[in-house]
C-alpha cells in the first residue's frame, strides 16, 4: 500500500543554560544548524521552554561598526543593541526578538545579556572567570583578560571537570551558591561541561613567581568579585540587585588570591 512519511523540519532550537530553557525560532535551517553546533551539550531534547526568541536574520554586511553594547529598560521591555545585533525582550510575556546576521557570536552575546538579567532576579550573576568542579565542589577563578583564566583551564588535571574558561554562571538556591557549566568559552574554544556543583571557593588570579594562596576579606573581596561581574544593563534596579548579590556571595563563599606559576602544580593547591 502506498504511503508517505512526512518529517516536519523543526524551525526552532531550545538552548538550556543554568536550567533556563530558551527557545530560538528561525526559518533559516543553516542558522539553526549553526546553533546546534555552537551549543552542543546545551541543546535541550525537550521542546519545553521558559522563554521564546524569534531570530530574524539580516543580510551579511549590514552590521554597523563597533558600537558598544547598550542594554536599557523601556516601556516594559529590555532593549539590547550592539553594532552587530538588536534585540528586545519582554519579561512579562517571556518573549523577544533578535535581529542579527547569520553568525553564532551575536546570539551568544544576546544570551549572555538575557542570562544576566534573569539571574539578577534570583541573586545570581555571570562573572569573568574560569570555573571547574573537583571532588564534587566548584571553584571559580575570576580575572581580567590575561590574568590566567584559560591557563588554569588548560592546566586542569583529568579529574577536573571544566565548566568554562571565560564566563562562569553563578546561581543562588536555598541560600547556597552553585556554579553551572556554560557554552560561553574564551581562548580554549571549548564549551564547558553541562554540570553543576556548590561553590567551595573563589580564587582571584594573579601570575607570580611562586604558588600561594592568601585570604581576601571584606571590601577587598567585594571589589575583587565586583570588578569581574558582567554588568550590561545601566539600570538602577539591576545594578542594586547585582551589588547586593555580590555582597551576599562574599559573605557565604571564601574569596582568596591565587598567585601562581603557570604550570600544572598550581592544581595541587585546589583540592
Amino acid at each position: 500500500m502506498p504511503s508517505v512519511n512526512a518529517v516536519r523540519q523543526r524551525s526552532e532550537v531550545v538552548v538550556e543554560i543554568g536550567g533556563l530553557p530558551i527557545r530560538l525560532r528561525s526559518n533559516n535551517s543553516i542558522f539553526l544548524r549553526l546553533i546546534h553546533e555552537r551549543y552542543a551539550g546545551y541543546v535541550s531534547l525537550s521542546n519545553d521552554a521558559s522563554f521564546d526568541f524569534e531570530v530574524e536574520l539580516a543580510p551579511p554586511g549590514t552590521e554597523s561598526g563597533d558600537k558598544e553594547v547598550q542594554v536599557t529598560w523601556d516601556s516594559g521591555r529590555w532593549l539590547m543593541e550592539r553594532g552587530d545585533f538588536r534585540a528586545e525582550w519582554n519579561p512579562s510575556t517571556s518573549r523577544g526578538r533578535i535581529f542579527q546576521t547569520i553568525n553564532p557570536y551575536s546570539l551568544d552575546s544576546v544570551l549572555r545579556i538575557v542570562h544576566t538579567l534573569l539571574l539578577a532576579r534570583t541573586g545570581g550573576f555571570l562573572v569573568h572567570a574560569s570555573s571547574a568542579i573537583r571532588n564534587g565542589r566548584a571553584f571559580l577563578f575570576p580575572g581580567v583578560s590575561g590574568a590566567g583564566k584559560t591557563t588554569m583551564a588548560r592546566l586542569a588535571p583529568p579529574d577536573v571537570a571544566l565548566l568554562t574558561d571565560e564566563i562562569s554562571y553563578v546561581t543562588r538556591q536555598d541560600g547556597r551558591y552553585f556554579a553551572v557549566g556554560t557554552p560561553f568559552f574564551g581562548e580554549l574554544a571549548r564549551v564547558g561541561e553541562n554540570l553543576r556543583a556548590p561553590i567551595d571557593a573563589v580564587y582571584l588570579l594573579a601570575k607570580g613567581a611562586e604558588n600561594k594562596i592568601e585570604p581576601i576579606v571584606g571590601a577587598d573581596a567585594v571589589r575583587g568579585l565586583l570588578g569581574n561581574i558582567l554588568f550590561f544593563a545601566r539600570d538602577p534596579k539591576f545594578v542594586k540587585l547585582v551589588f547586593d548579590a555580590a555582597l551576599d556571595f562574599v559573605s557565604h563563599v571564601p574569596v582568596r588570591r591565587l598567585t601562581f606559576v603557570p604550570d600544572s602544580r598550581v592544581w595541587e593547591l585546589i583540592v
Partner: protein, 109 residues
C-alpha cells in the same frame, strides 16, 4: 543669605558599610567607589537636613584630631567629588521630599 550646604545621598546608588569602609556603586554606570572611615561618617550623616558644617563640627571634629577649618575644607572637597559622580545631592536648602525616587520598574518582579 544662607551659605550652609545640605547634602543628601542619591537614591540611584547601591551602598553598604563593610567594616570602616563604605562601598558605593553608581546605579547609572556601575562604577564602584570606596569611602574611608571619615568619609563614611559624612556619607552616613548626609540626610539632607543637617548642614555640612554641623556634620563636620559634631561628627568629625569630636572624633578626630583636626581643626574645624581643615575638616570642613576636606569635607567640601569630598562632597564636590561625590556630587560630581551623582552619588550625593548638594543644595543650599534642606533636601527632603525633593529627593527623586527611582522610576519603578517591574522587570525584576
Amino acid at each position: 543669605m544662607n551659605d550652609k550646604l545640605y547634602v543628601a545621598r542619591s537614591t540611584a546608588i547601591a551602598a553598604r558599610v563593610l567594616g570602616d569602609e563604605t562601598m558605593i556603586m553608581s546605579a547609572t554606570d556601575s562604577t564602584l567607589f570606596t569611602l574611608n572611615e571619615v568619609a563614611t561618617v559624612i556619607w552616613e550623616s548626609a540626610d539632607g537636613t543637617t548642614p555640612l558644617e554641623e556634620i563636620v563640627a559634631n561628627k568629625i571634629c569630636t572624633q578626630y584630631e583636626v581643626t574645624f577649618e581643615a575638616a570642613l575644607k576636606d569635607a567640601e572637597s569630598l562632597v564636590e567629588e561625590l556630587a560630581g559622580h551623582g552619588l550625593l545631592m548638594v543644595s543650599d536648602k534642606p533636601i527632603g521630599q525633593a529627593i527623586p525616587k527611582l522610576a519603578e520598574t517591574s522587570w525584576a518582579a
